[in-house]
Amino acid sequence: MSERQLFLVGLSHKSAPLEVRERMALDGEDLKEALRQLRASQGVDEAFVVSTCNRVEVFVQAEAEEAARSFFTSRAEQAGDHLYVKAGAEAVRHLFRVAASLDSMVVGEQQILGQVKEAYGLASGVQAAGSFMSRLCNRAFATAKRVRTETGIGRGATSMSQVAVDLVEKIFGDLKGRSILLVGAGKMGALSAKALKVLGADRVLVTNRSPERGQQLADQVEGRFRPWGELEQLLVEADVVIVSTGAPTFVLTADMVRAAMRKRRHRNLCLIDLAVPRNVDPACAELEDVFGYDVDDMQKVVSASHEARRGEALSAEAIVEAEVIAFTRERETRAALPVLVTLRQRAEQIARAEAERTLARAGGTLDDRARASIEAMAQAIVNKLLHQPTMRLKASAATGESALAGAAAELFGLDQAATPPRRGTPLNGATAPAAPTPTEEDA
């Protein structure tokens, strides 16, 4: 039986263009079938596949990464150019980073953890993932959770529409009983209006110079179209106004907004100007109870949260690193234990046998106390003799060195069956001495 270790073969937004990724992505029944095939491949013990629009990654506990590689190359030859391969601790680290959203396109986004969980669920459902993958994935989920709670990696808005939602929420709380007004048919405006629906706005009003486009947009955002001429009245009705027209000048002037505010009796009004050049006079934002933001303001928030997340990513990496080390160490200690157990069993067996022989030879000349002290002495000799080797073996296992365990087995002549820090258990792949140097082939 030859050595097993964890391999990862995959491609992601960092290594492959979208057209390759979309050809490789699988879901549902196709993915289950692929997992069954992987599991059935020669030399593969366990497998699971993470497949999202940004990454397709195959994790196998196997002798070699070939089966995982052919998962890609059998379907499209050119995928081979975009693959990266990682083995052992490198692969573990990669999975932990992915689950913790450190490898995502938008670092800190929340979806990926759910996707990895789903992928694991699918793989264990078809028995492709077994006990090793279970430990690995649970550790990955725990790592992701630690990263989320101990760092601020998920904090801050990373898109314009998210910024708009955050702002509006800080002004109005929720939008129940309030209206959103969309001025102009810009794409960003429609996106933001849709995003704002999470706050429970009752009405979306749409106005546009060209009624056809306006009506179209109104249908798209499930709003109501109102003619352009009513703009001033609409400013009184709406609470959040999103402006994105192609006009080269101000569509909302300070005078218009001032008049509207009087009629609104100074109910708060939020003006979001998504147009470049700007469509809302910056003087509007100076008016009392008017909250005005332009693209620049919102972009600043986005960059600030990206910046903050980059900072938080550093502490997240440290957590991931600690977890990877803890995970591999745990496996190695587990792997070194059989040698220790056999060694101790063997020694105690000898001690007991020798003590019995001695006692038998002494016959009835000894009282119970003397017998007990002879047995205790034998045990003490074993303990004293094995103390240092035990400590050394445990320590070396914990640092990832498994040669010593092998040497001990060799030296003390323990059976193969009990030897296996290097062979037999499927747990020890990552840092076995023969592990190939991890490679990364980024296209």
Binding site: L167, K170, R265, H266, N268, E288, D289, F291, D297, A304
Partner: protein, 283 residues
């Protein structure tokens, strides 16, 4: 004895304030806010016990002094906030209200708790307890509204000034603060109105005239008109910044009048004049 108990309550308020402030500084520690509200509840209970004990010791006359008024107002402020907290989940308000309670309570903790000497006729009127209670409740509600209005102005500065920093994320939305201010002002106004009517009734029966141009009466009328005006303006649609500023000025006027009237001797027939020679401190 009641004073020791009051000091103990103050200690609990301080712990509660620390909890709420910690929560405000590090919103991740939601437990800190919960601790804050536990300690605040404990503090209110101890505080009420201290008041009950003082009533027994001093025959309930202490509440007509400035010191007594502060003791009452503080407990009502904290109690009202605990009530508000049940309906609106806004633990960050605690970071403003609990320290305010402590500040109001602080001057009453020093010196000796003593009873005023001769109880004047006004204090023997059967409606006097209700008069004092409603007046103190009014002050407490206005105080709470003041705290919330301060939060509104701080948050408005953040949102409008595009400073999306720590305060921005910790303070509640403007609209929630605005609504809460309004409700507190209305309730406070209601309570204050009841207190004023009772005051007039008592004055009529004891001083033979409901209105005697006593400075306390004049300032109370002013404050009543101001807050009543605010309630009216709200109906006319006043919101936001102006409303918050009015809330601030109302409470400022209230505080100035309380402190002036109680500290200048002989200015009013209320309170200050009744402070006779202290009797021996009852332990």
């Amino acid at each position: 004895m009641s004073l020791e108990l009051l000091r103990f309550a103050a200690g609990l308020y301080a712990v509660a304030a620390a909890g709420y402030l910690l929560y405000f500084a590090r919103p991740r520690h939601t437990l800190a806010a919960r601790f804050g509200s536990w300690f605040l509840s404990g503090a209110v209970v101890v505080h009420l016990a201290a008041i009950g004990l003082a009533c027994k010791e001093f025959g309930g006359l202490e509440w007509f002094t400035m010191r007594g008024g502060f003791v009452l107002t503080a407990v009502l402020l904290a109690g009202t906030y605990l009530l508000v907290q049940r309906f609106y989940h806004l633990p960050s308000v605690g970071a403003f209200v609990t320290p305010l309670t402590l500040i109001i309570l602080l001057p009453t903790l020093f010196g000796e708790g003593g009873a005023p000497g001769e109880a004047p006729a006004a204090l023997k009127h059967p409606a006097i307890t209700l008069h004092i209670m409603t007046a103190s409740l009014g002050v407490a509600l206005f105080g709470l509204a003041f705290g919330v209005a301060v939060m509104y102005l701080l948050q408005e500065r953040e949102v409008k000034g595009k400073r999306f920093g720590a305060l921005f994320s910790r303070l509640p939305p403007l609209n929630s603060l605005d609504k809460l201010t309004d409700r507190l002002v209305r309730l406070g106004f209601l309570s204050f109105t009841v207190a004023s009517i009772l005051g007039a009734v008592i004055a009529r029966s004891v001083w033979k005239s409901a209105w005697s141009w006593d400075p306390q009466q004049v300032s109370t009328l002013l404050i009543w008109v101001l807050y009543g005006g605010m309630v009216q303006l709200r109906h006319l649609g006043w919101h936001g910044r102006r409303y918050a500023l009015l809330t601030l000025s109302g409470f400022a006027l209230l505080m100035v009048s309380i402190v002036t009237l109680r500290s200048v001797p002989g200015l009013t027939m209320h309170a200050g004049e009744y402070k006779g020679p202290r009797t021996e401190v009852v332990k």
